[in-house]
Amino acid sequence: MSDPRLFRLRATFIEQGRLALLSHLEVAHTLERTVRRAGLPYAVSQGFSPHMKIAFGAALPVGVGSTCEIFDLQLTEYVALDAALQALQKASAADLMVQDCRYIEPRAAAASVAFPFSTYRVECADPVEEVQVPASVTVVRKKKPKELLVADYLAEPFAVDGCGATFTLEAKPTGSLRPDVLCGCCEFGSPVVSITRIAQHA
């Protein structure tokens, strides 16, 4: 899929404030428009229905914010990194601001699979003493209830710190446990105010 003549730009961006309420598809559309507004020389697929060659990282649930979202964009010409970043930032909304960009190898793994581990920060209204985590969580998939064992997904346990906690989930090829669903089933002893993805790693 990678054309070696193209330049592959990986950008990270934040998703915060009211824009944490956007769906993955809405964010994707917005980023495509951001790239066009930025005037970058984006590559266009050939064929029946030409479209921008852009790929997005793992989806973020509606309502969950992030400091570390990713998209990969293929360019037809090399653009200096600071010029690309400046153009993207000028075309971005403050709450969906591009933070950084760099070129990656044409054969590097796609953003959606390169970082199976996500670390989240959950903020509560009051100081948290401990988090009670259930052994399993029931989710509905294809209209059928399915029981997920939390231990299968929780790569690093909840670390309590001030008014909240930090935890890491692993996305599996067979599916993922949503951080908001997990937090909804945990006991923090205080209402959850926000959930934010703070790191994605391999």
Binding site: G17, R18, L19, L21, L22, S23, L25, E26, H29, T30, E32, R33, T34, V35, R36, R37, G39, V44, S45, G47, F48, S49, P50, H51, M52, V62, G63, A91, A93, A94, D95
Partner: protein, 629 residues
């Protein structure tokens, strides 16, 4: 006055739980925020964000008011049903998008009236906003509620709910009126004084300043309304934006996060249509025809795409392929946009080979379906409605389309048009069957199986300010019989006939033609739970039927009543520029099956627009080349 402050903190928990939060979150690319303003308008579209955000009137008027120093315009939409209920339960009012401030804290609230099925939504919005529903009940601290848009051409069924209406194009009229309200309020003028001053402005209609006559008196007097004060005009004439053709076609727009209808760059290439279809209200409302130049359009498209980042641009108007420079515009845009993946779309196809050529210029390799609107099945009826399209035009279009690679074609028809007979209904079947034959002949032998022709059939709704305004709608039972006749007459199984049960068409017909008594019906229907009437899943037929009974209106009789052309209609005090005499003459020509020329191609038809208004047809180049009708 309610405090102008953001209620976002209170609203946020509801938004987080709402069906689609992105409808309510603000901060879209391109939105304008003017907290320093001392006079504020909230422009409301009376339906959900995804239907209203792309609305052209909202976009233009918000821009126009924001361009005035010291004045701010924000947007408002009716929340979806789940959010309406959540707001009520939480005791929170309807708020604007930009400041998230309560609507009742604005100086003025503008509501566009896009179609006949939005009436109950207007009451839903006012009620949610905590603004008294009736103009008469509003106090000094309440906003001025101003209506406009297509339904302002028969504003009577909305009259009690509005302080004033804008008749015609609001580009200049709205800022002028708002400026007057602002100036008078600063001087401490009371509400009635402001309304009297507004009534003296061209195009402003203040319904409370008229006495409503009964039917007999109205027919005697030649108008249903009689001014109650000096300086209140007996007839309000629509306003036309004279600077349209020379103004930039790039009208700055907001790029929504949510997926909305018409989610693309919309560039208005021309305004008005003089084809003169006798059922068409838009054709009468937006005259005269004004074209923007090819240079203006091409530069505006490039500027708009750069500013918004859209991947599609639509060249909008009532009939874009009638633009005298359309071939040049499309060729230049194709060249400029090559390799960018940006698509161009034309919202309507002219029904001839030229129309197909133009569609071919923008389709690229992807040829989905083409849509044409012959409207009627026989030449006799097409002549009666002044559709001015022949079978040769249609078949020429079909030949060209299927030879060029299209495999699907949808044809729009109306049933119940004035003078329609069973022969005309069978004529629809015959026409689509023969279109199918032509299409199969135009494609290679191995692709004949992929040819799809469908007919979409809608029920005729008589519209105010048209030659057919005096004609009644056929009954639901008769409509069902005619559609059944049509279905039986189609000889191919491959040709599908789409017909939607026209429960709402009855309400549309009533709302389109009723007088001020219709307001009681609307209010009663809303009190009985009617809202989102244009949404199939929300339309509550029973609420309307019960309301009609409660207020003593016979819906079917009101919809089906045919009247002599001498009958004075309830909107005779509103002038769209085309004279009542001309409309009556057009109706007479319909009965005789006589065509009337389109004055942008042929001679003047004396509709009267150019006599009363300071604007004429403005064409970028002479029309007719490359596709004269």
């Amino acid at each position: 006055m309610a405090a102008f402050e953001s209620l976002w903190e209170e609203l946020a928990p509801l938004v987080a739980k709402a069906e689609r939060p992105s409808r309510y979150i603000n901060g879209e690319w391109g939105c304008v925020y003017k907290p320093e303003a001392d006079f504020r308008l909230c422009m409301v579209y009376p339906d959900t964000y995804e239907l209203g955000q792309a609305n052209q009137a909202l976009r233009i008027l918000v821009n126009r008011v924001n361009a005035c120093e010291g004045m701010a315009a924000e947007r408002g939409f009716l929340p979806a049903a789940d959010m309406c209920d959540a707001l009520r339960e939480a005791g929170l009012p309807l708020c604007s998008i930009e400041s998230c401030a309560p609507l009742r804290a604005f100086d003025a609230v503008g509501i566009t009236l896009p179609h006949e099925l939005a009436a109950t939504n207007i009451l839903e919005a006012l009620d949610l906003a905590g603004i008294p529903l009736h103009s008469a009940d509003r106090g000094e601290d309440d906003p001025f509620v101003i209506g406009g848009g297509p339904c302002a051409f028969n504003p009577e069924p909305y009259a009690p709910f509005f302080d004033a209406f804008n008749v015609g194009e609001g580009e200049e009229m709205l800022p002028e009126g708002l400026g007057l309200i602002r100036a008078l309020r600063r001087q401490g003028a009371a509400r009635p004084e402001v309304l009297r001053a507004l009534a003296a402005l061209p195009g402003w209609y203040v319904p409370s300043l008229y006495e409503v006559l009964d039917e007999d008196a109205a027919q005697q007097a030649g108008s249903w309304l009689s001014p109650l004060a000096e300086g209140v005009p007996p007839v309000v004439v629509k306003q036309v934006y004279g600077g349209f053709a020379d103004s930039p076609a790039w009208e700055p727009c907001i790029v929504p996060y949510a997926e909305v209808v018409h989610d693309r760059l919309n560039v208005e290439v021309l305004r008005g249509c003089a084809r003169g279809c006798r059922f068409c209200q838009a054709g009468m409302m937006y005259r005269p025809v004004r074209e923007r130049s090819a240079d203006n359009i091409v530069e505006s498209v490039m500027e708009g795409l750069a500013a918004t980042g859209y991947d599609e641009v639509s060249l909008t108007s009532l009939s874009s392929t009638d633009h005298s420079q359309i071939a040049e515009i499309l060729a230049r845009l194709n060249e400029r946009l090559a390799g960018t993946g940006v698509r161009i779309s034309l919202p309507s196809q002219r029904l001839d080979a030229f129309g197909v050529d133009m569609a071919g210029l923008v389709a690229g390799q992807k040829k989905g379906g083409l849509t044409f609107a012959p409207e009627a099945g026989t030449q006799r009826l097409r002549d009666a409605i002044n559709k001015n399209v022949t079978e040769e035009d249609l078949f020429g279009a079909i030949d060209a389309a299927f030879a060029a690679g299209w495999r699907r074609c949808k044809l729009y028809f109306m049933i119940g048009l004035p003078t329609e007979t069973d022969e005309d209904v069978k004529g629809i079947a015959s026409l689509v069957s023969r279109a199918y034959d032509r299409a199969r002949k135009a494609v290679p032998p191995d692709q004949k199986g992929s040819v799809q022709i469908s007919a979409s059939v809608a029920l005729f709704v008589p519209k105010a300010q048209t030659p057919f305004q005096w004609d009644g709608q056929i009954s639901p039972a008769e409509a069902a019989r005619r559609v059944s006749l049509l279905r039986r007459s189609v000889k191919y199984k491959a040709v599908t006939v789409n017909w939607h049960e026209p429960k709402t068409s009855l309400i549309e017909a009533v709302m389109s033609r009723c007088g001020r008594e219709g307001a009681k019906l609307v209010e009663e229907a809303w009190r009985r739970g009617a809202r989102f009437d244009a949404w199939t899943e929300h339309f509550d037929e029973q609420a309307w039927a019960d309301a009609a009974q409660a207020v003593g209106i016979d819906l079917e009789a009101a919809a089906q009543r045919s009247l002599p052309s001498s009958y004075v209609m309830p909107w005779s005090h509103i002038s769209c520029g085309a004279s009542s005499e001309w409309l009556a003459a057009e109706r007479a020509r319909a009965a005789e099956g006589r065509l009337t020329d389109d004055c942008t191609f042929g001679p003047c038809s004396s509709c009267g627009i150019c006599f009363d208004l300071p604007v004429r047809n403005q064409l970028a180049a002479p029309r007719g080349k490359g596709g004269a009708r």
